[in-house]
Symmetry: C2
Subunit: 304 residues, 2 copies
């Protein structure tokens, strides 16, 4: 149990942590701040925190665990304003999707008497903002912690226990490896989803109305992740540049093989590739990271 939790940023993630911490009794007191006055107003109306502060410094005053829930580009401003007022022995964590750059910036601005335990809950929806959050967002999802060797074991354990209280599973790994894993499981999928939605938008031989009408053939699935928060995703690609470009180059090499197979009418190569990819979905479902309801459960009648 955390005595005093402070959350900086009240979007989908911050407001979900607040709701979950309250509902699952993971914190005694919750203070929050968001730099957007409209979001602070919504936070007050939605009552997911005990205190909505007017500054980041006010929110972290006396806090035992501070979690940054803002896009990477906002870290520096937040850290500058909270660094002077952090309680001795406080733990500072975050929720960003790129961990090497997060670790660097947290270390740069924070004083040595606080423990830095960067974290990344691998969970989300396509919606943003304080109204989009809900307490169950982290249930059965993984939260990855990437503390460096200098961090006291007790601090890592406290952050891990907090995430477990919200229903998440917890893993610890180094930041560089995290960034490679997420490049392929999250960043490249988002990049190509954003890209194909853009391509469809620019075609002159197919109208946007046609794309919308016939999107049930596969396209609509990509629009979900391509409607994620643009600022957050800009920051992710800028901060995980190396791993993203590396994985993108692998993706493009593989795509060139499929392209060649189509060009050369190589049905055998295509079939071999396509027959291979079902297994991984079964394992994702077995691991509780996906539902097997047909068509994502979009249809009224479930599979028998």
């Amino acid at each position: 149990l955390v005595n005093h939790l402070a959350l900086i940023g009240c979007g989908l993630i911050g407001s979900s942590i607040a709701r979950a911490a309250k509902q699952f009794k993971a914190a005694n007191k919750i203070s929050v701040f968001d730099r957007d006055v409209n979001v602070r107003e919504r936070a007050r109306a939605l009552k997911f925190a005990d205190h909505v502060a007017e500054t980041a410094a006010e929110a972290v005053d006396g806090a035992d665990l501070v979690i940054l829930c803002v896009p990477a580009s906002a870290y520096a401003d937040v850290l500058k304003s909270i660094a002077p007022v952090l309680k001795q022995g406080a733990i500072v964590s975050d929720t960003g999707s790129v961990k090497s750059s997060a670790a660097a910036i947290l270390k740069k601005y924070l004083p040595p008497q606080v423990s830095i335990v960067p974290a990344h809950p691998v969970a989300g929806t396509e919606f943003s903002g304080p109204d989009a959050g809900f307490a169950e967002l982290f249930h059965q999802r993984w939260c990855i912690l990437t503390p460096d060797e200098a961090v006291p074991q007790a601090a890592t354990e406290e952050v891990g226990a907090f995430w477990r209280a919200l229903g998440a599973n917890v893993d610890v790994m180094n930041a560089e490896h995290h960034d490679q894993v997420l490049a392929i499981t999250s960043h490249i999928p988002h990049l190509i989803a954003y890209n194909i939605v853009g391509t469809a938008d620019h075609l002159e031989q197919v109208t946007q109305r046609e794309v919308i009408k016939y999107s049930a053939g596969g396209f609509r699935d990509f629009t979900r992740i391509a409607s994620s928060d643009p600022v957050m995703w800009r920051d992710i690609f800028l901060n995980n540049k190396q791993a993203v470009l590396e994985m993108l180059s692998r993706f493009l090499d593989d795509l060139a093989c499929l392209q060649k197979a189509i060009e050369h009418d190589d049905g055998e190569a295509l079939h071999k590739h396509f027959a291979h990819t079902r297994a991984i979905r079964k394992e994702i479902i077995a691991a509780g990271q996906e539902t097997k309801a047909p068509d994502f459960g979009r249809n009224p009648k479930p599979l028998q």
Copy 2:
């Protein structure tokens, strides 16, 4: 109302048409055939047809509307066996995802006294086989008819009325345009989904177990369409080669721009692209082709 409907192929699509035609009273009598003896056995057990024939010729005997629900590579065999026994004035349709090649093969094998009305219901799930079908599959989805000018208007209208009776919306367009529209709304999305699942599988720096655990970051969405029927998809890419390669080249050009923006730390270009793609999803939801339940409705608690 169709008096006698014959369906060749009892997979997801064929068995869904049979179930829907029965439930929504769109046909008096339904005969089906599948070349796989195990599927015929399941069809008998599931009772979605009045008659499960032992040959395609037997199934179409006396039928007013015959619909092929088999992968493109199976058309020639089916057509050779049914051509000699089709009733004078029968309508022959299909459900394939590529229409130019379908029209050519239907015309090649069928006698002049039958009307050819190729069709493509833009609906499906990631599951295959007779057990995966359900009557509501076509509700609110579009079925595209691509008859050529020689086809009697009455035949096109009859097929359209049949699909409307199953709950679908009906459009008529030429086959070449259909193939371009579907290349971007369905074929390229499947190609890149199959491709990224393959890429993730081949990495040496990230294990398959890690891909599975952290798939909720975006990757899992792609595994749904990458677990579609491999034979059907091999045939689609072989038969819509030109349009797929053309759209793939557009996709790759656009992806090169995003790649360059990442390489050059061009946050403005990234943000501009990402901010633009939310609108199209809203329109897809407004058009009834998608649900706005957060995270595809995977989560227990809906958005308020």
